[in-house]
């Protein structure tokens, strides 16, 4: 979030807005400290039902969509500059080798530079056919998963954790590519669990597949 505020600071005179959506089923209070620490002056919205992920076919955070002045998608959902270097982290000391830290920072900087470049010059916006070819495919299983997820979150919020968790588990079974669904369910079960042992096992099971597919900007 602080990097988005830096981006925003540099583009204040442009016709531009950042809309940062917190996929946060526990509610806004869990997002508040990050928003306040970042001094965010752009829109910071709270999405307890993960509606934006549902509408745009997003599966992880951070993901971003670029939308032009006419409301048209010029870059469909993609990883917003994160890298898989965290998989190389020493998990006992929670440290990352300096060269990996540097590579991670370089990738994120390049992505944010591309956003800035787009706002100022229009570069990096994809033509319609290229944008269309990168749209996520929404299958009937994914649509059903979204319904189970929404019900699971609702039941959890209304004191029916047992049944809620069953619907959240069914959502993840139907839509295994959604880290959002799986990690949100883990977090609802217990804060911290979304990055606990089961998370690392799930990441390991990816093998050669990326957790954050590199943005192709």
């Amino acid at each position: 979030m602080p990097v988005w505020q830096q981006l925003f600071d540099g583009l204040k005179s442009e016709a531009f807005m950042i809309v940062a959506v917190a996929e946060e089923s526990r509610g806004g209070e869990h997002a508040r400290q990050w928003i306040e620490q970042a001094g965010a002056q752009y829109w910071c919205l709270i999405d307890t039902e993960h509606r934006v992920a549902d509408l745009y076919g997003m599966v992880n955070v951070p993901q971003a969509v670029w939308i032009d002045e006419a409301g048209r998608i010029v870059r469909p959902p993609e990883n917003a500059g994160s890298t898989d270097h965290f998989r190389l982290m020493d998990r006992t000391t929670r440290t990352l080798a300096p060269e990996h830290q540097a590579a991670r920072l370089a990738t994120r900087t390049a992505y944010l530079d591309a956003v800035r470049d787009w706002v100022l010059t229009g570069r990096h916006a994809l033509p319609a056919d290229a944008a269309s070819s990168r749209l996520p495919r929404i299958t009937p299983d994914i649509a059903l998963a979204q319904a189970h997820f929404r019900l699971g979150v609702w039941l959890r919020r209304h004191g029916n954790a047992g049944e809620g968790d069953a619907h959240l588990a069914e959502a993840s079974r139907l839509h295994p590519d959604s880290w959002n669904m799986w990690r949100q369910a883990a977090d609802l079960d217990e804060v911290g669990k979304a990055s606990g042992e089961a998370f690392w096992q799930r990441v390991q099971a990816l093998g050669e597949k990326p957790y954050y597919p590199p943005p192709e900007v």
């Binding site: 442009e14 016709a15 807005m17 950042i18 809309v19 940062a20 959506v21 917190a22 996929e23 946060e24 806004g28 997002a31 990050w34 928003i35 910071c44 919205l45 709270i46 999405d47 934006v52 992920a53 549902d54 509408l55 745009y56 076919g57 955070v61 951070p62 993901q63 971003a64 969509v65 670029w66 939308i67 002045e69 409301g71 048209r72 469909p76 917003a80 956003v115 706002v119 944008a131 269309s132 749209l135 996520p136 495919r137 929404i138 009937p140 994914i142 649509a143 979204q146 319904a147 189970h148 929404r150 019900l151 609702w154 039941l155 029916n160 959002n180 990690r183 949100q184 977090d187 979304a194």
Partner: protein, 126 residues
């Protein structure tokens, strides 16, 4: 009474035997209108059995190939969007609109930002 979560939001409706609703409640929940031909929206009608002026909205939703799920007690329902609906909305490349609150509870609507470029990004605390 049943709580129904729809694309339009959450509503509390007088449901019987699952999700059998009166014609007016069925319209509120689905956006489709009960007519002699069935449940209708614009030029399309889907034939459907009607009992005492009530319709089985869960069965109707399944006929439309859209997801419907409920809790075991049948007290809370989700009438979800279909895969085709979501795909069609994205295929036109117009950014699907939404309204969400900020930390103070003030609602913000994406389409209010027309005329500006928007970097729409997601994040989470978890």
């Amino acid at each position: 009474m049943a709580i129904v979560l729809t694309e339009q939001g959450q509503m509390t409706l007088a449901a019987t035997n699952g999700l059998w609703l009166s014609a007016s409640d069925a319209e509120r929940a689905t956006g489709w209108t009960l007519k002699p031909e069935g449940m209708c929206q614009e030029d399309v009608c889907v034939p459907l059995p009607v009992r005492d002026g009530r319709v089985d909205v869960a069965a109707f939703w399944q006929l439309l190939d859209r997801p419907v799920v409920s809790d075991a007690a049948g007290e809370t329902w989700v009438l979800g969007a279909g895969a085709e609906q979501r795909s069609a909305a994205l295929a036109g490349l117009m950014a699907p609109d939404f309204t969400l609150p900020d930390l103070a509870g003030v609602p913000h609507t994406l389409s209010a930002l027309r005329g500006r470029k928007v970097f729409l990004c997601t994040w989470a605390s978890w």
